[in-house]
């Protein structure tokens, strides 16, 4: 649908990324991720035709994006930009109808066909109930849905979103990304969004575009980029470590030395014990090799701790952690 060849983007002869050969396919949801300042917004703005590339071409449905007349382009490509929209005193419905701008007459009158498109856009995004509400009274999540409905009312083949989850809380982020994924399937629209929610992107995107600070772009399935180490490399240079095995950033630096953990492999109690131990600074192993400091998870009410200084039983996680951190005789050696 949307393709680029040897695209170089940037501002004022200061290139940000070179020789990008990209492709967005119908019914595909792609997440654009990368550290701050890597040029995600610039790439999106270039693909949206809002900013000229330094070199190379962007093609939409076979035609050069920058030669498509603005009104024609608006019928094929819609954007949701970052930041709150202050459009004054408009109802959500009136805002969504603005998406029909490229289709309506000089007065902006809606034909039944336009009304149908608006209705469908609001149904798809689940914001019909908001129709009569003024947009300045909506929550950030509701407002973002309305802005997406407005974009859908353009009936685009390509939908570009710049950090649509930025102001939302976690449940709203999950909901929004699920919504976008469902939209890509139901409307066969190609969806590209930039986001900082790496965890969510890894789980939900059909494909990732990973833009590094040095201007390299890695393209692949989320799992591929995790497996081949591209994610780790891009974010390592930013001073954060990416844990291949668990698909998440490492938040804690191990400072207390190794500890071995034994418990039911799929056990929830074991998983959370693991996290707790990591949080207080242990490097946790669970490959069957016993370390001097060892924890057995018997069930979610019973932990057994073995240290070079002795053994103890703990009815709660808090008491286990206390024993591991308390400055007493059986304190494990700090490393």
């Amino acid at each position: 649908m949307l393709t680029t060849s040897s695209l170089t983007i940037g501002y004022h002869r200061r290139p940000i990324a070179f020789s990008l050969d990209l492709e967005l396919r119908p019914a595909e949801m792609v997440c654009l991720i990368g550290p701050n300042g890597a040029g995600k917004s610039t790439l999106l703005r270039t693909l949206a035709g809002m900013q000229e590339p330094l070199s190379g071409t962007v093609r939409l449905g076979g035609a050069d994006l920058f030669s498509i007349p603005a009104l024609e382009l608006a019928k094929q490509l819609a954007v949701v930009l970052t930041g709150r929209v202050e459009a004054g005193n408009l109802s959500a419905y009136a805002l969504v109808t603005l998406g029909r701008h490229p289709y309506t007459d000089w007065l902006g009158r809606l034909t039944p066909r336009d009304e149908e498109a608006v209705r469908r856009a609001m149904q798809l995004t689940g914001c019909e109930a908001l129709a009569a509400r003024p947009i300045h009274e909506l929550s950030d999540g509701e407002r973002q849905k309305v802005m997406i409905a407005r974009a859908l009312a353009q009936e685009p083949k390509v939908l570009l979103l710049d950090e649509p989850t930025a102001f939302l809380d976690l449940p709203r982020r999950v909901e929004l990304l699920q919504l976008l994924k469902r939209l890509s399937r139901e409307t066969r629209c190609a969806v590209l969004l930039s986001t900082h929610d790496l965890d969510l992107a890894l789980r939900i995107a059909d494909k990732l575009w990973l833009l590094s600070s040095s201007g390299e772009l890695h393209i692949g399935l989320p799992e591929e980029l995790a497996l081949n180490g591209a994610l780790a490399r891009v974010f390592q240079s930013e001073g954060v470590e990416f844990d291949h095995a668990r698909g998440a950033f490492k938040v804690h630096q191990p400072v207390c030395g190794p500890i071995s953990l034994h418990g039911d492999r799929d056990g929830v109690a074991t998983a959370w014990t693991w996290r707790a131990l990591e949080r207080i600074g242990y490097e946790v192993h669970n490959n069957g090799v016993r370390r001097p400091v060892h924890v057995d998870v018997l069930d979610s009410h019973h932990w057994h701790l073995t240290t070079p200084h002795g053994q103890s039983d703990h009815p709660t996680l808090a008491s286990l952690l206390n024993a591991l951190t308390a400055p007493s005789g059986n304190e494990p050696k700090r490393g």
């Binding site: 459009a87 004054g88 408009l90 603005l98 309506t104 019909e128």
Partner: protein, 350 residues
């Protein structure tokens, strides 16, 4: 199926505003230094013979052109103010924000005060020979020059805020020159100038109306065509572009419309403040929308009624005094409009 809210202006609101406007129009023909009963006014307008023959003269020579002028200026400045407030995303923007009235007042100041300023006065003294019309002509030239400059700049400048700052700077510059002219002028001439600056609907003759009315109507017409682009601009320039709007071209036409309206009304009636800032806010408050397809016609109708009523008050009915129009508008208008806006939902721009 959910029913969606209606967009645009409801028919009953249009009818209501038209009735108010018609009442204000008749009122302004009725009241003045001499009171002419409404039924006599209607008889005169429909070509009948009034009880007193002189009344027909009063109506046709003075009150009718004045009422038409007030109506047009009220509509023009309200429409222009609305356009500027949306274009600059600023609730305090008025029709003169780009310096059109500064240009006009510089033109007028040169004509009235320039003759006293010394050397370069010969040409201007000649211009003064045109008498009455020369003020309108000078103001039109001044407003037109600024308008042209602003339009040229607007085609080149990408950023709307830059345009706003240029307009403000130009306003300061012309005000400085006008102040300088006032400083070096004879008091009688300064009085003439301040009379012009106080604003009046009474100066437009039928002859001048042939220029004034068509230009105003042309400006309003462009305004109507730009309602849809103004709605798109509510979302900001980037979104408007993504909706297929040629922002630079739309901006050009919006500025042309607003400046024509502000320029022509300043040229013929002096700078009329207040209407252009206040009326769009009243329209927004009362209609509770930002949709220009409702706001523009409603602002025009409200502004026209407001100007007519303000003019009636300025005539101080029954007396021989005529109060300065700008004084009346602020003294009587501000409380009314504060009440309207504070009693509605919170003030929001566009």
């Amino acid at each position: 199926m959910l029913s969606f809210p209606k967009l645009g202006l409801r028919a009953w609101i249009v009818v209501l505003l038209l009735v108010i406007l018609a009442a204000a129009f008749i009122l302004s023909l009725t009241l003045g230094s001499v009171r002419i009963p409404p039924e006599q006014v209607l008889r005169i307008l429909s070509g009948g013979e009034p009880d007193k023959a002189s009344w027909a003269d009063v109506i046709f020579k003075f009150r009718l052109p004045k009422a038409i002028t007030a109506l047009l200026v009220g509509a023009a400045l309200s429409a222009a103010g609305l356009q500027m407030q949306t274009l600059f995303r600023n609730p305090l923007a008025d029709p003169f924000i780009l310096g059109v009235s500064s240009g006009a007042s510089l033109g007028v100041a040169l004509v009235i005060l320039g003759t006293g300023a010394g050397s370069a006065s010969a040409f201007i003294a000649g211009l003064n020979a045109f008498g009455d019309l020369s003020l309108a002509l000078a103001a039109s030239l001044g407003a037109g020059t600024v308008l042209g400059a602003v339009l040229i700049v607007s085609r080149r400048v990408q950023n709307t805020v830059t345009l706003l700052i240029l307009g403000l700077m130009f306003g300061y510059l012309t005000n400085a020159v006008v102040s300088l002219l006032i400083y070096f002028s004879q008091p009688e001439r300064v009085q003439v100038f301040s009379l012009w600056a106080a604003g009046s609907f009474g100066g437009v003759t039928w002859n001048q109306m042939r220029v004034f009315a068509p230009v105003t109507i042309a400006g309003l017409f462009i305004g109507f065509v730009m309602m849809k682009p103004l709605n798109a601009l509510l979302l900001g320039d980037d979104y408007a572009r993504s909706l297929g709007l040629n922002v630079r071209r739309a901006r050009f036409w919006i500025i042309l419309s607003a400046s024509l309206l502000a320029g022509v009304s300043t040229a013929f009636c002096g700078p009329i403040w207040f209407i252009g800032v206040a009326v769009p806010h009243v329209a927004r408050s009362l209609l509770n929308t930002a949709d220009h397809r409702a706001l523009l016609p409603a602002s025009m109708l409200m502004g026209a009624s407001f100007a007519l009523v303000a003019d009636v008050i300025a005539q101080a009915p029954g007396s021989q005094y005529v109060l300065p129009l700008n004084v009346v508008m602020s003294l009587f208008g501000v409380p009314v409009i504060l009440w309207v806006i504070l009693h509605q939902r919170q003030l929001r721009f566009s």
